[in-house]
Structures are given as C-alpha cells and as structure tokens.
C-alpha cells in the first residue's frame, strides 16, 4: 500500500536532503523550519496491463466500443504523444506500443486497411526512426514506417494542414489534414502530469503555429494558474474551445493512461525514498552514485542519465470521449501526485533535474532549465502558488550555456540575440516572435532535420512567464553566473548565499518550502 504525500518540517534530526541539479544531485542541509514536500509513494501498478487496455477499448466512457467504430474502407488515423512524454522514457514495451498494437488488431479484424500513425509532435523536433521504434515497438514500426504510414506530424506542411475554422473567440483551429479528414482519429496519450491530455492532445499535438499561437503566448501563460489545473488555465481554456470544435468535425476516440511515480531504475531507487528512511543499501548506492558521477567524464555522465529508463507502473487506462476520459485521468493523476500544503511561503526551493520534455536524448540548455524550473515545477500547484506573491524562488542547476545544435538551433539565437535585448516575455513576443516563427532556415531544419521549431524557445520562455510575473527574486544555486545573468536572474554558490541574497526581498527569516521532486508532485496549496 502506498503512502500519501507528506510535508516534513526540518528539525535537528533531519539529515541532508537530496536536491537534483542537472546531471547529478547534492545533499543539502536546509534551515530548521523548512517545509519539505514529498510526493506520495508510488501507487501499485496494474498487473494485467494488456487486459486493462482491452477492457478500456471495449468499455469506453461516453463512446461506443472501439470495434463498433471500425469498418472496412474507412480512414483510421492513430496519433500518439511524442518523445516528450513520459520523463524519463519508460522501459520497454512502451505503453503506447501496447495500446497501438491492440487498436491495430481490432482494426485488422474489422477489415480497416487505410491506417496511418502520426507522432503528435506539434512544433517539437521530429523523432528519429529509432525513437519512433522505441515508442511504437518493432512490429508496428516494421509494418508502417517503411511504407510511410508511420511518421511525424509536420506543422509546416501547408498542403497537409486543414484549417477547420475559428472558435467563438476567433482562435484558428488548424491541424493535420489526415487526422482532420479521417473517419476516426484515435489518440494515444501518456498522462504524466495533470497538464497533459484532454483537449490538449489533438488541438495542440497536431496543430500548426497559426493555431498554437492563440494559447502559446505570454498573456495566456501568465493567466494560466496553474498549468496543472485545466479549469484555471487560460491555455487549457483555449485548447478546450478548440477541442470542442474539433469534436464536432472529426470523430475522436481518446485513450489516456496514467503512470505511478516509479521514475528511477533500481540503481537509483534511493532517490525515490525519503532520506531518513534510507537503509544501508540505499546509503551505499547513494555514495557509489555520487562518487561515480563525480569521477565520470561529462559525456559518460550524460549518457548514463539519458540512458535511464523508468520502470513505471500503469495506474489507469481509460478510453472514449475526450472530456469524460480526461476526468477519470485527472482523478488518477491527483491520487498519485497531490500533496496538501497549508499556506504559501516566502521562498520556494526547487531542484531542476537532468531531464525535461524538450531535451530527451539531448542537452538541457539554459532556456530549457528555466522552463523546467519556473515553468513546470513552479506551476506544480493547485489553488495558489507555493510561494507568495513577491517571494523568491531558489533553483539548483548548473545552467551551462551548452546547446545541442541539431535539436535547438533557434535556441542559440534566442540566447544570443533575444535575451540580450530583453527578458520580458511580452516584449520579446512583440519584437521577435514573428521573425523566428517564420524564419525559413528554422522551418527548413524543423521539417527536414531534427530541430525544434524556430518559435519554440519563445514558448519555453513564456512557460516561465507566470513565475516571473509572480515572484520578486529568482536565484540559481551552483549555476553559470553569466548564463543566469543573461536571463535576468542571479546566481549564488550555496543555499546560504542565496538566502542572504534574497533577504532584501523576503527578509532574514523567511518561511521556506522545498518541493522534493522528482518524482512528480502537485502541491495542493490551501
């Protein structure tokens, strides 16, 4: 039986606590009285995964069973969440593979032979063949990829986009033409956090820039409180409007899955546990890991972390009408991740780990580190932010100005040109976004190479807009000073220094809350 999330108050007996910082972690001694929010322990995984999937397809919510929706001569499109989910990638077989295989089996039994499978990567980079294979599995890959029936969505392929219309707020709904013109669109989701799924899947994953710009902008991001609560997120409100319009246009059969908190493989299992409960084996593993990481060359450390696969357990799979499915999904995600926290604090401490949605098999550059810390982790709340208005956020990450030239070419220019001009999301949006979004070189690289779209770094920056608007001070511990200053933040060498620096904002005896994730948690701030 798993234990629920828990808030620890640091006292004299509390040992140093793990804080993630990029491709490594440190043991930090927090001031007495610091609140440490631990995620709930992992829910038990479903043992008969294939059986659960089968049942979900045959007993959907708000929809007829999948087999009854399939008929000979129809156009069936299966879209799935791309490589940005889950984090880390899961041990094989990927849950998406297991679902797609069953959907394809039912389609074959119904005589459907016009099937295409699309990675819903929106403006993310194209997945490589091996990355596609890792998600859909060997059999599906071999059957569909060589024929061109398994491919990445191309948000810049004008001929293969369909402008479905506009919402009552004037938002353009433009998505992948094949998906929009199918008789049935099956969407296969991995719901790692409450932000994902629902109408965020199709209207965003298969959309074009023309459509995405209506909700991926600084104004919407500032007014999304938080991303983890779709009822209070302006971004989700927009996506929901688009999704409802799409549901009138194309039959969508949504399949959503939820995972438990088993994110670390056995050799790093101690990271899953609460420090004062570490046994001898855990302490030995921790010491070995720290010593090994300290001695290993940078490249090897990178490979170790990027090669990590999570032994997730499946906690739920639901299929059918999008909103009905998503309601069940969110409930399950909350069951796994929600932790009740009483009141806000003056300081929020976050450890930013090695991996975010946009640096799988890649490098976490300064913009992505900011997005991860101030975008994802800051927004991991329900109700109100963990830190009070005008408070301080202290983050841990090296923030080295390293960029992957293959994946993030426009990020380099964003870092060199845009951030040297302004760090204000609204200003850079007005001044630079259009230029980057329509730059033919970035579009070329997005379409033919494996580059994120030219506008993507802007979105990452907007992701942090709410945090930047809310807090008075952002301080990075152990970070590259120049890189942090470039982004308009400050750097400190230790937590003590960071608190000293923040004292002008929050005083000398601030209340401090440390969100100890990953594994992921949502602070339900009352």
């Amino acid at each position: 039986m798993s234990r629920p999330g828990f808030v620890l108050e640091v006292d004299g007996r509390t040992p140093p606590l793990v804080v993630h910082e990029g491709e490594g972690f440190r043991l930090e001694t927090f001031p007495r009285g610091t609140r440490v929010v631990y995620p709930p322990e992992s829910l038990p995984g479903i043992r008969d995964v294939d059986g659960a999937i089968h049942r979900a397809l045959l007993e959907p919510v708000g929809s007829d069973p999948l087999p009854t929706l399939l008929r000979p001569g129809m156009r069936l499109t299966i879209a799935f969440d791309d490589i940005s989910l889950p984090l880390p990638p899961m041990v094989k077989p990927d849950i998406r593979q297991r679902i797609i295989e069953q959907v394809l089996t039912m389609a074959a039994e119904a005589g459907v032979d016009d099937v295409e499978i699309i990675s819903a990567n929106a403006l993310h980079r194209r997945l490589t063949a091996s990355e596609l294979k890792e998600i859909v599995g060997e059999r599906v890959f071999r059957s569909f990829f060589p024929q061109g029936a398994l491919y990445n969505h191309d948000a810049e392929d004008k001929d293969n986009l369909l402008h479905v219309g506009q919402t009552d707020r004037g938002e353009d709904v433009e998505i992948n033409r094949r998906a929009a013109e199918s008789d049935l669109l099956v969407y296969v989701n991995v719901n790692l956090v409450a932000m994902d799924g629902g109408h965020k899947s199709v209207p965003i994953g298969l959309a074009s820039y023309k459509s995405l710009r209506h909700h991926h902008n600084s104004h919407t991001m500032v007014h999304s409180r938080s991303f983890m609560d779709h009822t209070k997120s302006a971004m989700h409100h927009s996506a929901w409007r688009m999704g409802r319009m799409l549901a009138d246009h194309v039959k969508i059969f949504t399949i959503e899955t939820t995972l438990n908190n088993d994110v670390f493989p056995s050799q790093f299992a101690f990271l899953q546990k609460r420090e004062w409960e570490w046994g001898v084996k855990d302490q030995a593993s921790m010491l070995a890991a720290r010593r090994g990481l300290a001695l290993a060359p940078k490249g090897l450390t990178h490979n170790i972390f990027q090669g990590m696969r999570a032994p997730y357990g499946l906690t739920g799979v639901n299929a059918g009408e999008t909103e009905a499915v998503h309601e069940l999904t969110v409930a399950k995600v909350h069951e796994q991740q929600l932790v009740e926290v009483q009141g806000q604090s003056d300081v929020l401490v976050l450890g930013v780990p090695y991996l975010g949605p946009y640096n799988v098999n890649s490098v976490m550059n300064p913009i992505l580190a900011t997005c991860m810390g101030l975008g994802y982790y800051f927004n991991s709340y329900r109700g109100q932010p963990v830190v009070r208005k005008g408070g301080a956020v202290i983050l841990y990450h090296p923030v080295e100005p390293d960029f992957n030239q293959l994946h993030h070419p426009s990020y380099v220019d964003f870092y060199e040109e845009v951030l040297t001009s302004s760090t204000d999301p609204a200003v850079i949006e007005a001044k630079f976004e259009e230029q980057y979004a329509t730059d033919p070189w970035y579009i070329h690289l997005y379409r033919t190479s494996h580059a994120y779209h030219g506008v993507h770094p802007f979105y990452m920056w907007y992701w942090a807009a709410h945090a930047m608007d809310h807090v008075g001070d952002v301080i990075w511990v152990g970070a590259n000073r120049k890189a942090v200053e470039r982004m308009g933040f400050r750097a400190a060498s230790s937590l003590q220094d960071a608190l000293e620096m923040a004292s002008s904002t929050v005083g000398r005896s601030p209340s401090i809350t440390y969100l100890r994730n990953p594994p992921h948690l949502i602070a339900d701030v009352r």
């Binding site: 220019d413 060199e416 040109e417 230029q435 730059d439 033919p440 070189w441 070329h444």
Partner: protein, 401 residues
Amino acid sequence: MLALEMFRSIPRYAAAKAVGGRVPGLLVGPMAPVRLVTRDEPVVRRAGWAQVRPLLSGICGSDLGAVTGSTSLYFSALVSMPFVPGHEIVGELVEDCDDLPRGTRVVIDPVLACAARGVEPCEPCRTGRTNLCNHVTVGHVSPGLQTGFCRDTGGGWGERLTVHRSQLHPVPDGLSDERAVLVEPLACAVQLARRAQVPAGGSVLVSGAGAVGLFAVLALRHLTDAGRITVIAKHGRQEQLARAFGASDVAAPNEAMRAVRRTTRALRVAPEGLPGPASRLSGATEMLLGGVDVGIDAVGSTSSLDTVLRSTKAGGRVVLSGMPSAADLSPAWFRELEVAGTYASTGDAFDVAIQLAQEAPLDDVVGGRYPLHRWREALDHAQSAGRLGTVKVCFDVRSRA
C-alpha cells in the same frame, strides 16, 4: 628634422613578413624596417608646393601593413624608399601656398595625382577620379601612390612634409586637431559608402570594427538609406562605438555567420570537410544561401574576406576596403557577386568628411598620442588597438615629451 623612416631591408622585410603581427615585440624591436632619423626637410621646388608642419598624424592599417610586411609586393613599384610614413595628417602651413596663407590649419588628401606631379592629367584625373591616377610613378616627385609612401614628400611621421596645393583642405576653426586628424580616414569611408551602392533599405555586413569599419558604419548611416547594418567586432569598446555610429547589430567573429543568417533570414550550409578545428584547413567553413545586399571587408584578412564573400547574397556586392588578403573566390563566381575595391577618396569626399568630423560622435576616438621618439610604443599600441579599446593611435609631432 626628426622623422621616422621606413627603409629597404630585405632581411627585415622577410622577418617582418614571417612573424608579422604575431610577435609585436619583434615588429617594434630589432626586426622593424623603421628607424628614427634626423634628415633634411623635404622640399619640392615647383609651383604649388609648400611645407606643412604636422600637428597630429595617425597610424593607419596600411602603415602597419607596410611595417609588418603584410603589404602585397604589388605595391613595391608604387613607392620610393626610404620614405617617411604617415598620411592621416592635420598640420599647419609653414609658408604660403597659393591662396592659402602661412599658418592655415590643413588636412591632406594624400594621393599624389597628376596635378601634384605636374604632368598632363591622365584619364581618371580628367574625370575627377584622382584616387585612380595612372601617373603615380612619374612627374616632379619620385614614385609614390600617396604622401607617406614617397621619398621626396616626407610624411606625417616627421616634423615637416611638403604638400601640393591640390592636396590641401583648410580646417574650419571650430574643428579640433583630434577630430581633424580623422578627416582623411573619414573621407575614405565616404568613398567606401559611395562605392558600396547600398540599395534603399538594403542590408549591410561590415566585417571589422577598427577605424575603417567604424567609420564605414558612420558614413553608411549618413550617406545611404541602408537598412540593417551588422558589424563584426571583436572587442567590447568596438561594439559600443559600432552601435553609437549606427550599427543595428554587432556580432563576434565566431557568431558572424549566425548573426547575418538571422538578420537576413538566409539558409546556412556547411560544406563537407574535416571536422572541428581542422575544418578551416579544408576550407569547409559555413556559408549562406541568401545574405546581405552588401558585404564590406574592413579588415583585409583572409578570414574576414571569406566571411564577407560567404555571407553576401547572390548578385550582391562585396566591397574591399583596405588591402585584401587571398580568399576563396568561389562564392564570387557561384553567386555572381560584384567585387568592388575602394581606395582613398575623390570628388567632394573631403568636404563631406569635414562635415562628419564636426558632427559625428567622435570624441575619444583618438585614444593614444605619442611623440615620435616613442614610436615603438605607438606602433605596439596601434597593433593592439582593438584589444586595448582604442580606435586611432596618433603621433603628436609637436611633442618632445
């Protein structure tokens, strides 16, 4: 009189060429083909010639090129040794010169064209393009394309020189010596801006932010309707000045191609070749398909010219300012580039330059002033001017301290 003299010395020339700017200590030390001498004041006993006493005299990149042996042998027939260098001069007449009375403060157009040489005007001189004179090796004075490269006239790095009336431009009273000494390089920049033929709103890349590059930006902004001007600058002070003079963007040399690509929305291509640092050996440096309308090489190095050639758009114009080094001309052929040189100045360029010198934000541009006897320090400073945050180093010929 006291003067710095450049003399013919094959061993020193070879040594300077071999180590060049890489070992500045040798350049200004025993290997320098320059010496401080006491020599007779230069006199040309012909009508229209008069002596000038230099007040300030700049050190130009071409002067450094001559000292470091990086100047092409092409020019060996166009100079007469030994000569006193220095052609960026503000001085005063020590005797009447036609309509200009003694004591007039003057700047000098250094080109020794037909009028100064007392020969029948050649075709370029007849049409007013005196900077392209065909007669720079004949006439009343020894071969020498400019004052400062001619044995008979002396140069600005000495206490006297002799100048023909056709070369003289009076300096307005309100113009300080420190600004007036910049008039000649500004006139070259005016010439450059005109030769660039920038289309209205056209994009320009200026590779280099030394005096040539910075003044080019200034002139382009004042004389053309150029749109975005991107400058490649190595040092912080250069970046500040480039922006102050009108640059839209400033990029470091290793960021140049990326910056131009970004501003012009070009496509970037990397040829196949050796990986990493060896790529330069294989010539496999990046290039753009698309790029700026006009590229200006204001350095004269191979890498600078390469960058300009590779980042100018098809059908665009590449302007060579200063003496260029060898570069891969494939882009000029493949992209049908117009390659244009710009040398010295002509027409009313000096009048425009004087105007610029009065109006432009040129305070502190002269960052080093040395008496002649401290010539080693002066050349050393000029060689490292960019790194030291200096735009122009001058000899203060009046000073003995």
